[in-house]
């Protein structure tokens, strides 16, 4: 049975909803708009004829899963939203892409057969393999540098850093010329068909290359490969770079240099609440820097303000500024574990249209980049 045919209410047992509104009470979108997750569920339950998929509000959800963690009826609201969006797409309705459709178009292009890509030229000087058991799944990183040029997100640096870290531990990862977008954003925008095409292509490719273990430097790729690909039958071990690095440090294969730099960590929702990975990024950070926690951490962490590049606006900026101020209150460096969190935060940091007090002077850096720097520092 495909997702489109699944009944969101039946699948998520949303009929257990007691309309307590706890979801709305914690939702970061509700706090800045009229949006109410409870009302969405109520509409699906009580007015099936009105078809909640036609409600433009379904595109407001960030799928950050804060609500899922507090629901007394254990309703997985973000799964509900995912299925409702897929129904909307079936009817030809889609959410607005904050980048004018550029990113989703690229992802859909990658779903085409016979696509010839040139996506490994950045590996020059790094030690990568054409095939083997361990793969580094790069994801959209090389594209982001081009799309978000003005923000200087250094996403390609995340990719290079990840390979550097693996190389330093004696690992020569596969970096594939035929890798395609993991499909995360399409899945969460309701385009399940394109997501599945991408997933099947990637799974097939991994099999052909003899890959058994995939390392990602992106929280979204991590969740998608480890959960959504698994549902499609993928039999691969998936590790986020923080998990791989911690393992390698523990085995004595990776030597890192500690510094007294004070850093704080922003838990990416895909790694944290979606996947339950909270401690490995912290443990590995503690080997290279002085980690201080923000008041909202781990399961309580705030969202970076945008999900799947849908809906970005004043409320997203409010969420981001709140988080940046929270980070600035405890440290001078904010470490991200997902390139998209970094892009969204840097966007808010660089936004000249934001009125009121300016966000604090923060360095925003990815965990992989920080790890690579600690290698160089170790060599000196």
């Amino acid at each position: 049975m495909s997702d489109q045919k699944k009944d969101p209410v039946e699948e998520t047992k949303a009929y257990y909803c007691v309309e307590c509104g706890k979801c709305t009470g914690i939702c970061p979108v509700s706090r800045g708009t009229d949006y109410s997750p409870r009302r969405m569920v109520k509409r699906a339950l009580e007015e099936p004829e009105s078809d909640v998929a036609r409600d433009p509000q379904i595109w407001n959800c960030l799928t950050c899963k804060l609500c899922g963690g507090v629901c007394p009826s254990d309703v997985d609201y973000i799964d509900f939203i995912k299925m409702v969006r897929s129904r909307a797409v079936d009817q030809g309705i889609g959410g607005g892409c904050s980048q004018g459709g550029q990113l989703s178009t690229m992802a859909r292009m990658m779903a085409r057969d016979g696509l010839a890509q040139s996506r490994t030229s950045w590996t020059k000087g790094l030690d990568v393999a054409q095939n083997g058991e361990v793969m580094y799944f790069v994801g959209c990183l090389p594209y982001f540098d081009a799309v978000f040029d003005e923000l200087r997100p250094d996403t390609l640096d995340i990719a290079k850093s990840t390979v550097k870290v693996l190389n330093a531990a004696g690992i020569r990862p596969v970096v594939s010329e035929s890798e395609r977008c993991c499909g995360h954003d399409l899945l969460w925008s309701g385009d399940v068909e394109s997501f599945r095409t991408l997933a099947r292509q990637n799974i097939k490719q991994m099999k052909m290359l003899g890959v058994r273990k995939v390392i990602t430097s992106c929280a979204e790729c991590y969740r998608t490969l480890s959960r959504d690909y698994k549902e499609l039958g993928a039999d691969i071990e998936v590790q986020h770079i923080s998990q791989a690095a911690l393992e390698l440090v523990g085995q004595g294969r990776l030597k890192v240099a500690s510094s007294d730099r004070k850093v704080t960590l922003h838990d990416a929702c895909r790694l944290g609440r979606h996947s339950g990975v909270y401690e490995e990024p912290r443990e590995v950070l503690k080997t290279i820097a002085q980690l201080v926690e923000m008041p909202r951490n781990r399961v309580a962490a705030s969202c970076c303000g945008v999900g799947a590049f849908l809906m970005c606006g004043a409320n997203s900026k409010r969420i981001q500024l709140e988080r940046l101020n929270e980070a600035g209150g405890v440290a001078g460096t904010l470490v991200t574990e997902c390139p998209k969190c970094q892009i969204h935060f840097k966007c808010a940091l660089n936004d000249k249209a934001i009125a009121g007090p300016k966000p604090p002077d923060l360095e925003i850096v990815d965990l992989a980049s920080l790890l690579a720097r600690s290698l160089e520092a170790g060599k000196k």
Partner: protein, 442 residues
Amino acid sequence: MKDVLVIGGGVAGIQAALDLAEKGVKVHLVERTPSIGGRMAQLDKTFPTMDCSICILAPKMADCADHPNITVHTCSELTALEGEAGKFRATVLGHARHVDASKCTGCGKCVEACRMKGRIPNEFDFGLRKRGAIYLPFLQAVPRVMNIDDKRCLLLRTGKCGDKQLCKEACERGAIDFDQKDQTVALDVGAVVVATGFDIFDPSGMFEYGYGRFANVRTAMEYERLICASGPTGGHLEVEPTKEHPRSMAFIQCVGARDLRRSPFCCSVCCMYATKEAVLVKEHYPDTECTIFNVDMRALGKGFEEFVDRARDEYGVRFVRARPGQVTEDPGTKKLTVWYEDPELGKVKSMPADIVVLATALVPHPGTAALAKVLGIELDEHMFFKVKDPLMSPVESTRPGVFIAGYCETPKDIPESVAQASGAAARAYEVLAKEKGGAARA
């Protein structure tokens, strides 16, 4: 006639023991902690009559201790129950108090002398007050005998307490006995009444409410101690860090209860005690705003609905149909904000609160499974003791001769616990009477 064993010295156990003792039966009342009294002793007032809880309970506790037919075994637990209805052999392990109960007068001189004085969180007040290694659990404790916490006493833990043992020196009656050993007693009993009550769900795992991180978020049981005249603050509610009395209070219901991932059942008493707690705030500070967040009001007992009406109409307690999604704290002022969905508007709303009180789930004790094994009785899916037939045998466990009373069977309030305890006592008596009659015929 055979004796009866009652396990648990809360109001249900006390009632069962007194009922049986009055019938001329010898009762062994076994209590895990150093004093009988249980949860009722920790409450400030009872609903809906607003009686002082300990004022009602304390005379019953004293009756238990003084009754010629009741032997109270504190610091004790059941370790084995062999035999069958009418002829059980119970093994009870009594942990050493390290204080000779026959000599101690409860004068408290040892308490003043203890080097650990004021350094150990007091269980009775949920850590809101500190005690020493030798202590009286609470003011009205029965028996009024000091107790040494062997895990915290310097001498018992490390073998050394300065150059001399100050408590021993302070005691004029030579009651302190560091060599006292745990003791096991075997009791021949005809029937058993189990009344072990409940434990309190720890809400620190529910990040959304900030318990344990935010100074002004309290559990309802902590609140009971704080509003109590004999409590840690003498009955004054104090907002951290200013110590001023609260201007606005929020009560959040069903915290960990009616929650499919935690305790799915209704704890049955929280709607009423929250109403009572809000009324108490109003009686102390009439200008303080009180809001109770609950998804529905369960006021099923005698006079309960009227009590809720009075709370709303006469005292001005506000009831909002919602479960708040989050409590946030201003790190500087420690002021709280409660975020919830306004049920009428269908939009998120917030209200400032000086103190937030969480009506945490009341759950079976963590030791329930082990006790059930010792007793040879079954548990239900929520770890409450199972009754043979909830309709027609609501006090009989799944083992003949073992009866159940109070919250440990299923959530219930004080009057229901007392009624069930009297029922269990009557059924236990039946077993003894049958046994006696049988013996006579033989």
